[in-house]
Symmetry: C4
Subunit: 233 residues, 4 copies
C-alpha cells in the first residue's frame, strides 16, 4: 500500500502534475480515521520510509519529533473528514490548471478522458475564507473551508495556488489529476481556436465516467511500471 | 508483419499520438477478412505475443478466453469492411487534434507533410448515431456509423474523443497519424497569429500526397529503429 | 569538415529544427563550384560515409549509381550559385516557422539572438514560380526562383513548406536555423499577449548581428559536443 | 560554495532558463567587494575550475590572461554595487519571459510560487540609456543604468534581450529565475483564456514571499541532486 503511495508520487512528477511541490495522500486502509502522507519532502524523493501516519486533525501519529510535516496537510485531513467516499487526495500546482483558477472560465470536460469534471469544478477563493493570507491551507479551518467548496465534486481549483483532486482509490485519484492537467491544456488550446465549444453533455459525462472506472488501471499499470524503473535506477 | 505492428505501437507512443490509450491495427496480410490488433493493453507494452486476430465482425479468432479485448475494436472491423483499400487503422486521442473535434474550425493541411488532409476531415458526432452515449464505439452499429462519416477520406475526427487515421499500408497510417497531430498543432498556432490562412490548394494537396508515397518510409525507418532500440533496452 | 557536417545534421535534429526530413549542406572548402550534402537519408542517421559531392547544377560527382539523392538538392545548388558569400545552407520544416509562411505576419527579430532576421524575411510563394505544384523544389528553375526571393537575406520562408537559412559558415547557418525557430516561437507567444510589439530597430539588429559573429561558437561547441556523444553511443 | 555555483549553472540549464547563453554569479562570501562568475563558457560546461573572481568594477582578480570573460559581466558588478542586500544574480534569455519585455503587458504574479514578483517587474529599455546599441550591457555605465531600473525589485526585464533576477542567496536567486519563467508561461496562457485576471494582491504577495523563504530549499535540494548526477555522468 505504501509502495503504491510512493509510486503515485513519482507518477505525478513524471506526468508533469507535481514538481518539487505538492503531495498525494491515501486514507489508511485499516483505519478510516487516519491517512498516510509523505513527510515534508520533494515528491520525487519519497520512499516508503518517508510515509507518515496522521489522524484527521492532521496530527502525526508516532512520527519522531525530528520529522518535518507538510504545512498544508490540513487539505488532506479535512477532505477525508468531510468525504467518507474519498480515499485518496492529490494537491498540486498542476501548471495548465493554474490559469483556470484566476480567470472566469470554468474548467469543463472536453472529452471522455476527463469526464469526471462533468459535475463542475468549483474554485476556492481563499480571500472569502481567510481574507489576505499567505495563500496556504495552513490550519484546519482553511482546510474545512476548502473541503466545503469541493463539496461532492472530484476536483476543486484553488485561486492563485493550484488544485485538489479526490477519488475513491489511489489509482483513480492519480488518473484524475493527470487528466485534469491534460484537459486544462486542451481546453486552453480550444479556446484559442475561437467559437463555441462542444463540451461533453452531463449525461455523456456521467456515462463516460463509468467507463473510466473500467479502464483507468491500464494507465496506472504502465505509469507505475515506469515509476518503479526510475526508483530502481 | 506483427513485428511491424509492435513497432507501430511504440512509434505512436514515442511521437505523442498514443498515451496509455488508443490502438493501431493491420488487415491480415493473407486474409482480407481478418485484422490484427493488440489485446487490451497499453500500446507501449504490446509485444508480438499480444497480437490477436479478429474477423470483420471484430470477433477474436482462436484467442484464449482469458484474453481481454479492446472495447472499441469495432472501429477497426467496420472500417476494414467499408474500405477495401484500407489495410491499417490508427485510433488515438492525439492531443492537439482533440480541440478541432469540439469546435467549428475544420482541420486543414497547412503544408505538404499533411497534404493527405486535403480531401477534407469530417467530424463524427456520436450523438447523431447513438444519442447520449458513453462516447465509445462499443458495437458494430457505432463502428459502421463512424466508417460512414469517414467515407473515402484519410482522417476523421471523433467529437469529444479523438480520431481515426487510415491508409493502404501500416507505415503510411503511422505517418499520417503523426502528421495529423503535427498539423493540428501548427494550425492552432497559425490561427493564433490572426488573419487569413493560405492552406494548400486541393491541386497542391493531391500532388504533394503523391510525393508522400515516395518519402514516408524515410520517417518510418528511423522511427522503427528508435522503437526497436527501446524494446531491446 | 565532413565531421562538422555530420554534427550539424544531429544538432539540427536535437534542437528541433529537423525531424526525419530537411537537410544541411556545406560549400566544398576547396572548390567553390561544389557542395557537400548527405544522400537521401534521415538527418539523424547521416555519417561521414553518407556525404555526397555535387556541382552547382546539383549533379552528383563520383557517387555510385546506387546512391539516392535528395529530390530538393537544387535548393542548395542554386543558392550557392546566386550567393558567393554563402557557404552553408539549411533547409527545414522548422515547426514554429511554418505558421509564418502561410499568414501575412512577417517574421521579425524580437531579440538580439535572432538579430540576423533584421534585413527582412521574404516568403517564397511557389505558385508564382511554378503554378500548382507538389510544393517541392525539384529542379533548377524552382531552386533559382527561391534563391531570387531569398536575395541577400539570411532566411526565406517557403509557403506551406518550410524555410531556408544561409550563412558564411556552417556553425553560423546552424545557429541561425536554431534561433529562427526560437524567434518564431517567441513571436507567436508575443502576438498572443496582444498590443504593439517593440521589435529590434534595424540599427540594433545590425549591431547585434555583429555580436553574434563573436559568440555563436559558444553554442556550436556545446551542441557539437552533445551531438558527438549521441553518435558515440 | 563554488560547487553550489557550478550546480546553479546546471540547474538553470536543466530547468530551461539558460541555454548556451546567460550566467549566474555569487557575491564572494568572504569579501563583499568581489563576486564569482564562470569564465566565458556555456553554462552547462562550467566546473569549479572555470570560476573567476571579479571586483565590483568587473575587473578579473588573478585570472590568467588567457581566460576570456563574459562581455556582460558588468550586469553583475553594478547590481552588487547598488544592492548590498543582493548576493546572487542570474542573467538569462529565459524564453517565456522575452515576450513580456517587448509588449506593454507587465509581468505579474499569478500564484504564490512567483509571489516575489509582487513589488513589480520593471522593464529596462536600453535605448534610454544608450541609444541604438548592440543590445548588450558591455560596460559599467550600462550596467549601472540597468541596476537603477531594477531598483529594489527582485526581477527586471531587459527589452529585446532577457532578464535579471536577484536574491540574498544563490538558491533563492535560482528559485526565482525558474519561477519567473514558469509565471511568464502561465501568464501568457491565462491572457489567452480572455477576461480579467485575478493576480495576487500585494498583501498576499508579501505574505507568500515569506513562505518561499521557508520552502525554496526543497526545490534547490532536488535540483542540485539532479545537477550533480549529470556532472558525475
Amino acid at each position: 500500500m505504501t509502495e503504491d503511495l510512493v509510486a503515485a508520487n513519482r507518477i505525478l512528477v513524471n506526468e508533469g502534475v507535481l514538481d518539487a511541490y505538492g503531495h498525494v495522500s491515501l486514507r489508511h486502509p485499516a483505519n478510516p480515521g487516519r491517512y498516510l502522507l509523505g513527510r515534508n519532502l520533494a515528491p520525487a524523493l519519497v520512499t516508503t520510509a518517508d510515509i507518515v501516519e496522521y489522524d484527521l486533525d492532521s496530527e502525526p501519529i508516532g512520527a519522531p519529533a525530528s520529522v518535518a510535516h507538510f504545512f498544508e496537510r490540513f487539505i488532506h485531513g479535512e477532505i477525508y473528514r468531510a468525504r467518507p467516499d474519498v480515499n485518496a487526495v492529490v494537491h498540486s500546482h498542476s501548471p495548465a490548471v493554474i490559469p483556470f483558477s484566476v480567470t472566469e472560465r470554468p474548467l469543463r470536460p472536453l472529452y471522455h478522458m476527463s469526464s469526471f469534471l462533468y459535475p463542475g469544478v468549483p474554485v476556492f477563493e481563499i480571500r472569502e475564507a481567510g481574507g489576505m493570507t499567505d495563500m496556504l491551507i495552513g490550519n484546519r479551518e482553511l482546510g474545512a473551508a476548502l473541503a466545503k467548496v469541493l463539496g461532492d465534486k472530484n476536483v476543486a481549483l484553488m485561486r492563485g495556488h493550484g488544485n485538489v483532486v479526490v477519488a475513491g482509490t489511489l489509482p483513480m485519484a492519480v488518473f484524475r489529476a493527470v487528466y485534469t492537467e491534460i484537459n486544462a491544456r486542451l481546453q486552453a488550446q480550444t479556446i484559442a481556436l475561437g467559437g463555441p465549444i462542444n463540451f461533453l453533455a452531463p449525461e455523456e459525462g456521467e456515462k463516460a465516467m463509468r467507463v473510466l472506472e473500467k479502464i483507468h488501471l491500464r494507465a496506472w499499470d504502465i505509469w507505475k511500471r515506469t515509476a518503479l524503473k526510475d526508483i530502481a535506477r
